[in-house]
């Protein structure tokens, strides 16, 4: 089908090492309602991929499939496969708790725990039985999240006392502490002011050296600025009343925004709808 041609834009089989996570024929049901279908795409390691599209077309749903957070919604059901570092995370024997440790997540509204900054970052390692030097891990993660200099003297203060932008960077540091390879970000800057947003975007650039980032965003300029690859999800035109999300186009960001191959994509990125 046409979807096959969109998979892993031009990569050769020998570059499979470059694919960190691969989605194949994914469909998600909430109870009886089909939310997204036929999603197949590969995400490249050490790159930033953006998921864009109008509201309600499955971007967040797709993102939450990548770390099995959808399992927490009663009635949610997944078909197809998601292969992370070669292993299908939806295979019957796989423990979602393990998956979630390996794949970090940052949410739309910053949600630090009502604990100290130190305890926020240390939470993930502690519950997973980390045996190394905690102080060193906390400092390393706060540095990676570009927050260390601002909070190094107040590690025992509550995480809720920070500003919105700082809280989000704290949440990023917290996610980094479980040493994931892949970080999922669900509209991480949409609740922040422009300056804080800029800092988050700079952070993403720095992080992609060590990690892979997949970001859902409503902000097309942000997607264009920040991402290497872009996937455009929209509503299935053939069953428009059912509001089923499908993958319309996936490719290098520059190409998606300047020379998209599908008319729908062109309409969306030029602001004609959505």
């Amino acid at each position: 089908m046409a979807q096959e041609a969109l998979k892993s834009n031009g990569s050769t089989p020998a570059a499979d090492q470059d694919i960190i996570i691969s989605v194949n024929g994914l469909a998600v049901y909430y109870g009886e309602k089909l939310a997204v279908r036929d999603i197949s795409l590969d995400f490249k390691r050490h790159h930033i991929t953006a998921l864009i599209g109008p509201s309600g077309c499955g971007k967040s749903t797709l993102l939450r499939c990548l770390n099995r957070m959808n399992d927490l919604i009663p009635g949610a059901r997944v078909e197809g496969s998601v292969t992370y570092n070669g292993e299908n995370i939806y295979a019957p024997g796989t423990d979602p708790v393990d998956v979630r440790r390996r794949v970090g997540m940052v949410f739309q509204k910053p949600n630090p725990f009502p604990k100290s900054i130190y305890d926020n970052v240390a939470f993930g390692p502690r519950i997973n039985g980390y045996r190394g030097n905690m102080d060193e891990l906390v400092e390393r993660c706060l540095r990676q999240a570009a927050l260390w200099d601002e909070v190094k003297d107040q590690l025992r203060e509550s995480g809720l006392a920070l500003s919105g932008g700082q809280q989000q960077r704290l949440c990023i540091a917290r996610a980094l502490a479980t040493e994931p390879d892949l970080i999922l970000m669900d509209e991480p800057a949409s609740a922040l002011d422009p300056i804080a947003t800029l800092k988050i975007e700079e952070l993403m650039y720095e992080l992609k050296e060590q990690y892979t980032i997949i970001i859902v965003t409503h902000n097309m300029q942000q997607a264009a600025r920040v991402s290497d690859f872009t996937a455009f999800l929209s509503v299935d035109r053939e069953h428009i009343d059912d509001r089923i999300g499908i993958l319309v186009e996936y490719g290098v960001t520059e190409q998606i925004f300047t020379k998209p191959t599908r008319q729908e994509t062109e309409d969306y990125v030029s602001g004609r709808f959505g």
Binding site: Q17, T83, N85, G86, N128, G129, G132
Partner: protein, 337 residues
């Protein structure tokens, strides 16, 4: 999709080929899952424990109640229909075990206290919800809650040291000025009903007020916009919309009044009789149970068992009222959209 490694160890497969190895995550998945299952089971037991309690209540009441009815000196029919309750009377015959006087006492006090508490409670609820400014409400509402938290034995004391004397002197005055000849016993149903009413007013007020505040402001705005006064908005828009909650509060408050023990034991008396006169002494079902328990009757004796029969009847009455209140809420709930 080629395997990255051919190892069967799941952890190794999930590890990407990178220079930096992950250190120190050692938690056996088996141990963790076992711990989770044990905790889940313990929590389930705690959750289901309440069912055990209900079973316990039903067993403890009805096993002894059945034992009571199996005695030759008692018949179920006479129990439910007889109008004489003389458990200590001689000879011991079914005619002495008609429960209706106790039911009479219970219902009379329940109805009287409801008659007093319901209008006052709804009035307070309307005032707090529709009239009072928020600072006033924040002061008055907690004070009303305090009324509900006062132990009932204190209300009993208040009834016989304050309410009854006041009532009697008022009736004295009435008798001398108007020339009536009303008699007020020292133990009487009215005094008890007054304090029970004070006890349940917070229930009516609180639940009704919550129901009224749940009515969307848009409905009130619409009524004001049509030129209604505050009184009209309250009585013609808000109260009808909140009716299910308000009715439920009545039934719950009555159920509480029916189950009330210490205040009526202290103030209403210990003479079971069929009467409609609130100024004479009566005995409620609950007061009878206390009387027997205070008296150290042996558990297997007829008196010891009679309290379970009366208790079972009381339980059924309050259960019935609680169920009705649930149905009322569901049946009358207005759809706002």
């Amino acid at each position: 999709m080629a395997d990255i490694t051919s190892s069967v160890d799941g952890a190794a497969v999930l590890n990407p080929p990178r220079t930096r190895r992950k250190q120190g995550y050692r938690q056996s998945r088996l141990v963790r899952n076992l711990r989770e299952s044990i905790i889940h089971a313990l929590l389930f037991f705690a959750g289901a424990f309440s069912i055990l309690v209900t079973v316990g209540i039903i067993l403890s009441l009805f096993v002894d109640a059945v034992g009571f009815f199996q005695r030759p000196e008692v018949t179920l029919w006479k129990f439910l229909t007889g109008t004489t309750w003389r458990p200590l009377g001689q000879p011991v015959v079914p005619d002495n075990f008609g429960v209706l006087p106790l039911v009479n006492g219970t219902i009379m006090i329940g109805a009287l206290s409801g008659l007093i508490a319901i209008p006052l409670g709804v009035g307070a609820a309307i005032f707090l919800s529709e009239y009072a400014p928020i600072q006033v409400r924040n002061v008055l509402k907690p004070i009303l809650e305090i009324l509900a938290g006062v132990p009932t034995v204190i209300y009993g004391y208040f009834a016989i040291t304050f309410i009854t004397p006041q009532l009697r002197s008022f009736v004295e005055w009435l008798n001398t000025t108007v020339g009536t000849d009303i008699r007020v016993d020292f133990f009487n149903a009215l005094s008890a009903s007054v304090v029970v009413a004070v006890m349940i007013i917070p229930m009516v007020a609180s639940i009704s007020e919550d129901a009224m505040r749940a009515v969307p402001t848009s409905l009130r705005q619409a009524a004001y916009g049509l030129g209604a006064t505050r009184f009209e908005v309250a009585t013609r828009v808000v109260v009808p919309a909140a009716l299910s909650g308000i009715l439920a509060s009545f039934i719950l408050a009555l159920s509480r009044a029916v189950g009330e023990t210490m205040a009526v034991t202290i103030a209403a008396g210990a003479t079971p009789k069929m009467t409609l006169n609130p100024l004479t002494s009566v005995q409620t079902m609950t007061a009878f149970i206390v009387q027997v328990s205070f008296g150290d009757a042996p558990s297997g004796s007829i008196n010891g068992q009679s309290i379970f029969a009366v208790g079972a009847l009381l339980f059924l009455m309050t259960l019935f009222m609680n169920i009705v209140s649930n149905i009322v809420v569901r049946r009358f709930r207005e759809e706002y959209e």
